[in-house]
Amino acid sequence: MSQISRRQAVALLGALGFGAAAAACAGPGGSTAPGGASGPAAPSTGAVTGKVSFAHWRGEDKAVFDELIKRFAAKHDGVEIAQDISTSNDYNAQALQKLRGGSIGDAFATFRGSQFKNFTEAGIYTELKDSKAVGNYQKGLLSAGRNGDSQLGLPYQVVFPMPMANVDLFDKAGAEIAPKNWDAFLGMCEKLASAGVIPISWPGGDVGNGGQLFNCMIANNAPVDDMCAQIEQGKLKCTDDWFLKMLGQYKDLAPFVQPNATGTAVEPAQNLFSQGKAAMLATGSYHIAAVRGLGAKFPIDLVFPNTTSDGNGKYEGAYNATFILGVNSASKNQAAAAAWIDFLSEPENAGYYANQTAQHVSVDKVEYTNPDLKRLSPWLQKKTALAARFQFNNLDVRNAVEASATAVISGTSPEQAAAAAQKIVDERL
């Protein structure tokens, strides 16, 4: 074996170090962004076979998807689907980076709002507007997955981010479950409180779940439907009268939420509701399965805090279309991934998913057999506002604006809370 001098060795290590430094100085982003100026293309076609990675964050749905995967595999020889499940926080932070390489997430889900926007800008989506799946959805519920003329994603779930109600407790207290205006809503809370229960269990210590009530509170207060987008753009302000009025209404709610609500995490809030200590849980229908899992046996309905004084609000509730399904443009097995999305979008399979997970779906002609879904199905026909908080693309702005409501509940004046939120918005403009 030939020998090298110490100098040569040092030179070699130096060259390696220089190479590392030079590699580090490559431009950020590089040129690996999939997609391109020509816009998204439809998923490639071919045999439905091989391995498909399905990336999502709903670990609680794993068993249901396992069963659907089994049924899908029975229809297609040689196809294999693996679920790549992250927690929702991790998914929010890392999914895009993971999906860009195409090694995971041939088919994937995204949250509505900033995540969908980021994925769209990164060119991760293929075009699904001509897919077989699109025809199975209720047309009015597809907008959350649209970008211009393109249908990039298919919003699979329909959830109602409105307080869930323990119907038995309402009946016992003689409280109205469908209050027509703000005074009626407060009157309903009074009756529940007089009956010895906490009217509203609100997870104020959990930024994400605590923020869902905002969708209801802002729906009929704001002068426009894209109010949150306009706040972020500086066209509307948190210090505007309509926003201050809404914060004032949050202040009205303070006596009716559980003591120390701003320190309550979501699990204890769910417990208060499922144990019958609280009449409402101010998160949303997406928690039905969790509440049932905690042993709640009572009938559950939804209550909309209608913030109008005369009951003539534009909206009767709030909904969100989320868990947006897409096919990865960097995937090497787009044909099988697209077939999987098509399969999930068939009414029979979407119905299985819905009934097993207690989540409504945006697929048309689905038969709901789950008693909770059946009871809440009329809400699918009501005039509900698409959840406004997901219009925010900047998460700092969203958190700051929603934190103004939490601050009011904990005793800060609406004016002070609004000014603090607006300061953050102004800094981000």
Partner: protein
């Protein structure tokens, strides 16, 4: 067999006192070694290069761009990100203030608490060994487990703290839900979590003190405080230096504990630099988050250096 030129150059000509070639003798000859020896450090060098040097250099580069982390397009913005952090971002300055307050609280409380524990439990009796194990126990838990345990303790409705208080007729507070107090409660958790570890450092220092010194001091009539001041403290001062430096870095980086206990994103009252950086990354502002990371790194280096300069607890000389 070949003769090594270096060896030949060192030889003198027979019968002569002059060197064979003075220039060659002065030049240090390269030592030739088996190249296989240089392969041994290569894995370590590669790991350091790829996981430390490259990311650090990249962070410096990203910090002067407006890169969003995903697109191929970006602009170089110079020091704008650094200026923005200190002048136009109250969330960052709030996190910085919280972090400094948290570090100060934890460093003082943890240093004092772990020293007191060590003083109380230095004896090798069965009871003190059991207590040492008990106090050390939290250290072996994962920070996420600790966060969840304390999140439960602090829960205002079902939590242990309020349940105990209710038994004596006291209405507990909102703990983490009270913006004015939240950071203090997390500091309590951090101190509980790491004091056992620091206690062990102090116990090691205390056990190195010769017993004879205390015996002599007692014979001279020194009371406990005088013994502590003149014997114990000089011996444990170097350990204090280590404890303070370690605790400082640990509390600057209490990311997992804060995120576990306060959720993601934490509210403003609990936002510290590491969680703010994480939120900025999640908000698709990679360039700005990289600049914040560099400020964070500089901050830790500066505070640690200042501590070393100010404390000067390591005895000089022998």
């Amino acid at each position: 067999m070949s003769i090594h030129p270096g060896t030949a150059a060192k030889r003198k000509a027979p019968g002569s006192n002059a060197p064979a070639n003075p220039a060659k003798v002065r030049r240090r000859s390269p030592t030739r070694v088996n190249p296989a020896l240089y392969l041994f450090p290569l894995p370590a060098v590669a790991v350091v290069a790829f996981f430390l040097v490259m990311p650090t250099l990249q962070a410096f580069q990203y910090a002067i761009t407006d890169w969003n982390g995903f697109s191929a397009a970006f602009n170089y913005v110079g020091v704008d990100n650094f200026v923005r952090a200190f002048t136009k971002d109250s969330l960052f300055t709030n996190a910085l203030t919280n972090n400094l307050k948290f570090v100060l609280l934890v460093v003082i409380a943890q240093t004092v608490f772990s020293l007191v524990l060590a003083l109380l439990l230095t004896k090798n009796s069965r009871g003190s060994i059991l207590l040492r194990a008990l106090f050390f126990f939290p250290t072996i838990l994962s920070s996420v487990s600790v966060a969840f345990i304390w999140k439960f303790i602090y829960d205002p409705n079902f939590g242990l703290a309020n349940s105990v208080l209710r038994t004596v007729g006291v209405d507990g507070g909102a703990y983490l839900g009270n913006d004015a107090q939240a950071l203090y409660w997390v500091a309590v958790t951090q101190v509980w979590f790491h004091s056992g570890q620091m206690m062990v450092v102090y116990i090691a220092g205390l056990q190195a003190i010769p017993r004879e010194l205390y015996e002599a001091a007692e014979m001279d009539g020194a009371n406990k405080w005088q013994q502590f001041k003149s014997i114990t403290w000089p011996f444990v001062a170097p350990a204090t230096s280590i404890v303070v430096a370690y605790t400082t870095v640990q509390s600057f980086k209490a990311f997992d504990l804060i995120l576990g206990i306060a959720g993601n994103p934490p509210k403003a009252a609990l936002d510290i630099l590491s969680t703010r950086i994480y939120s900025t990354f999640a908000n698709s502002e990679f360039g700005y988050a990289a600049a914040q990371s560099i400020i964070f790194m500089a901050m830790i280096a500066l505070v640690t250096w200042l501590q070393r300069r100010l404390l000067r607890l390591t005895p000089k000389g022998d």
